[in-house]
């Protein structure tokens, strides 16, 4: 890696200082409070009591829905992050081509991102209603179906819908991350490769992917975190019904905390989630960073 070596040793830290201050005060402090809470007794009314060791953690793991919720969270993160990264990458490649209407297409793609998740979830919930949903309305009025279709026949289907909405709102983020990476690639690299007789796939593997990798890394790691912690979609569309079968960890701990008022286990659950995320994101980062440094 090229670098401009600072003359003074402390200089880099001055550059970092504003960022560190901002994060420490507004994010790290609340995180520390969460850690403290997870070892404290919290009454159903919300009053914080004394230190009780790991009891909140053991209670959390013993919850009957714990396993279901963990599996749901796993599928939720894998499907949403995986598919939206794939789709986002493809769309970014297409939007990077020259064609008429490209500017309009890009602006349209920003829409799902520009609308808050609560609204997105409400709209989709409204769309897939059996009795008056807009999807049935459109399909019926265009003559595509003759009878209204029940789009939510089982909780598996509902969960797939939730993942679909998750993908819908995540794709623009990936697309624009990748696009910003693609834009910085020098066109002469491709010209040289074409002269050397490289085909589409070899250009993709040898030029595009390595150069887009930093952007892709950012979007994937952050997406893992955001999707893991994403709350409004599941909460608005099913509230985990039936019987936590569609809950992810974050909605489940919300229900625990504010509906069932088991605030201690809920906080412990959030710390468990944090540790899982640290592990996943950590592993991912270490492997990807190593590759990045190698190349």
């Amino acid at each position: 890696m090229n670098s401009i070596q600072g003359k003074r040793k402390w200089e880099p830290y001055v550059w970092l200082l504003p960022s560190i201050l901002l994060i420490s005060i507004f994010v790290v402090f609340p995180i520390l409070i969460v850690f403290k809470l997870s070892f404290s007794e919290i009454t159903p009314g919300g009053v914080i009591g004394g230190f009780i060791g790991f009891r909140n953690f053991t209670d959390a793991v013993k919850l009957p829905a714990f396993k279901t919720v963990m599996m749901n969270t796993f599928w939720w993160v894998i499907s949403v992050v995986g598919l939206s990264t794939l789709l986002g990458f493809i769309i970014a490649m297409v939007l990077n081509q020259q064609f008429r209407g490209r500017k309009i297409a890009r602006s349209i793609l920003v829409f799902p991102w520009a609308t808050s998740l609560v609204i997105q979830a409400s709209v989709w919930n409204y769309i897939i209603k059996y009795e008056y949903g807009n999807l049935n309305n459109v399909l019926l009025n265009l003559g595509i179906v003759g009878q209204a279709i029940n789009w939510r026949t089982s909780y598996t289907v509902e969960f797939i819908w939730e993942c679909g909405v998750g993908i819908f709102v995540t794709v623009p983020f990936v697309t624009f991350c990748v696009l910003s990476g693609l834009q910085s690639i020098d066109g002469s690299l491709y010209e040289a490769a074409t002269v050397d007789g490289a085909g589409f796939w070899s250009k993709l593997w040898k030029i595009t992917l390595p150069l887009v990798r930093p952007s892709l890394t950012v979007s994937t790691v952050l997406n893992i975190i955001y999707v893991f912690n994403s709350f409004p979609i599941v909460y608005t569309m099913t509230k985990g019904a039936p019987a936590h079968k569609t809950d992810t960890m974050i909605t489940y701990l919300y229900m625990l905390s504010f509906y069932e008022r088991k605030k201690g286990p809920a906080t412990a659950l959030s710390v468990i989630g944090f540790l899982i995320l640290c592990l996943c994101a950590g592993i991912y980062m270490v492997t990807v960073m190593r590759k990045e440094e190698e190349s």
Binding site: G101, K103, V123, Y126, Y132, G143, S270
Partner: protein, 530 residues
């Protein structure tokens, strides 16, 4: 210039073009539409086979059937008995009498029916005829001429053939779907009295198509029990015409590969855009509906019957502009703070070597790993201590902090991918580090900076959870919290909710469009790149 091989290829293409059209015409003449019309249905609850009521009803139904036979219809009488034993041990019974007639029709019989799909059918036929004519004319005597030497007239004719066939292919699904709609939905809507307009005319057209106009008065009930099955074979019209289309493209351009790729590119972009816009279509039409019409249980209207612009003034009256202003302040402020803190940090990360570099990256990522829902207690405590509760400034700083990770990380990636040679040149020219950063690196990193900017703005704009807890007066609420007043315990006011949401989306889109060009401008200015 003349090329005998080309002649062979073109002859094959022309043959395929004709073949596709002939195939389509054959398909159209097959009896693909099968109808089973229950021309008359009578339901009689609490009736038992053989009792007085049964006999009376049966006689009534048979009289009707006789009437149909007298008119020359070949009808059958069906009787369906549904008996159940209820909880009290009593037997209940529901008897349904139906009079049926079955027949089939081919596509050509829609000609002269007057139904809206007739127009589409005529369009398809006219376009295929046009294509055929143009292709034949455009090839006459020039079968062995390479495409780029074609005289203008022939080129134009062949292009016209392509366009006509494209229209024909696209019109096929329209024809099929229009029929589906007419046969199932439109009939049931008219019969249920859910729509009135144009009922008589529509029924007369149906009568002409199905019963040669003989059903007259009884057409309404005859259509009520109509069961239509179109053979899936009708969809084969599309591949048949597609073959012709591809052949026409081959005739016009010589190579279909690049044309097809271009077509697929547009198709892909159009599909992506349609899917993306779909929820916004839903929001828009709902936003302008009246409260009563948001509940469109019978799926009557794809668009509001009356566009209620007053919904917009209503939400303005209910505080939306103030909420928008708050959101703008929060998001704008958060973006400025996040970039002011993030750019220097990313610069240091990309260009300097120092102890604890990786640790800082880990620290930044770690700061993202809790959902705001979980951190609420801590944030609220912090804000109490700083006296920033219920303030726009507090929200601004919180949002800036929560988006630091992305800003720092993405910018670092962008800076790394830009070679430092330009800055070094600037440094040698006498610029300071800051000069090199602001005058050289930042303009070159525009795409990454714009992405980060948009990202922070959008995230802050959409933040909801923290605002609900921190903001305790109506005057300080951002738009995300403000619109919760439209979904209350008693009623969700969909029209206001979606109107306000649309209004809230617009500023972000405007912001995006105004800086989008930087996203594309990128490194066009040249320079040394790695």
């Amino acid at each position: 210039m003349r090329d005998p091989d080309l002649k062979k290829a073109n002859r094959l293409s022309l043959l395929l073009l004709v073949l596709g059209i002939v195939l389509a015409l054959i398909l159209m003449s097959l009896p693909l539409y099968r109808f089973n019309a229950a021309v008359y249905i009578k339901k009689s609850p609490n009736t038992f086979v053989g009792d007085e009521k049964y006999l009376a009803v049966k006689e009534e139904v048979e009289t009707v059937a006789e009437g149909y036979r007298a008119q020359g219809f070949d009808v059958e009488l069906d009787e369906d008995v549904l008996t159940r034993v209820n909880s009290k041990g009593e037997t209940t019974s529901l008897i349904t009498f139906t009079i049926n007639e079955s027949f089939s029709k081919n596509v050509f019989s829609f000609l002269g029916s007057g139904l809206p799909s007739e127009t589409v059918l005529i369009l398809i036929l006219a376009m295929t005829a046009l294509a055929l004519g143009c292709a034949l004319l455009g090839c006459r005597g020039e079968m062995d001429l390479p495409q780029r030497y074609l005289p203008r007239r022939s080129a134009l004719l062949r292009s016209l053939a392509c366009a006509a066939l494209l229209v024909a292919v696209l019109a096929v699904p329209v024809f099929v779907l229009m029929n589906n709609y007419a046969f199932s939905r439109q009939i049931s809507l008219y019969n249920a009295g859910l729509i009135e307009e144009g009922r008589e005319a529509f029924f007369a057209k149906m009568d002409r198509l199905l019963f040669s106009g003989q059903m007259g008065e009884g057409i309404g009930s005859a259509l009520a029990g109509l069961d239509v099955k179109h053979a899936p074979l009708i969809w084969m019209l599309i591949p048949a015409l597609l073959v012709s289309l591809l052949a026409a493209i081959q005739l016009r351009f010589g190579a279909i590969r690049s044309t097809l790729l271009r077509g697929l590119l547009y198709l892909f972009v159009i599909i992506v855009c349609l899917v993306t816009l779909y929820p916004y279509y839903v929001m828009t039409i709902t936003a302008f509906r009246s409260n009563a019409e948001t509940l469109d249980m019978y799926f009557l209207h794809m668009f509001p019957t009356k566009w209620n612009w007053s919904n917009l003034t209503d939400i303005i009256h209910r505080g939306v502009p103030r909420y928008l202003l708050n959101s703008l302040l929060v998001a704008g402020g958060a973006t400025v703070v996040a970039m002011l803190c993030g750019v220097p940090a990313a610069y240091a990360m990309a260009r300097m070597n120092f102890f604890g570099k990786k640790a800082f990256l880990g620290f930044v990522i770690m700061s993202q790993m809790f959902s705001p829902v979980v951190l609420l207690i801590g944030i609220s405590q912090l804000m109490n201590t700083l006296h920033l509760n219920n303030s726009v400034l507090g929200l601004m700083l919180i949002n800036a902090a929560f988006n630091q990770a992305f800003a720092v990380w993405l910018l670092r990636g962008t800076f790394v991918s830009i070679s430092p040679e330009m800055e070094q040149a600037a440094l040698i020219d006498g610029c300071g580090t800051i000069g090199a950063l602001t005058r050289v690196l930042i303009p070159m990193a525009a795409p990454g900076i714009v992405t980060a900017l948009i990202f922070v703005f959008i995230n802050a704009w959409n933040e909801y959870t923290i605002s609900t807890v921190l903001i305790s007066t109506d005057a300080n609420r951002p738009i995300t919290v403000g619109i919760t007043q439209f979904s209350s315990f008693n009623m969700i006011e969909w029209q206001y909710l979606f109107a306000a949401s649309l209004v809230a989306t617009i500023p972000v889109v405007i912001l995006f469009m105004s800086i989008e060009k930087h996203l594309t401008a990128g490194l066009t200015s040249g320079g040394v790149k790695g």
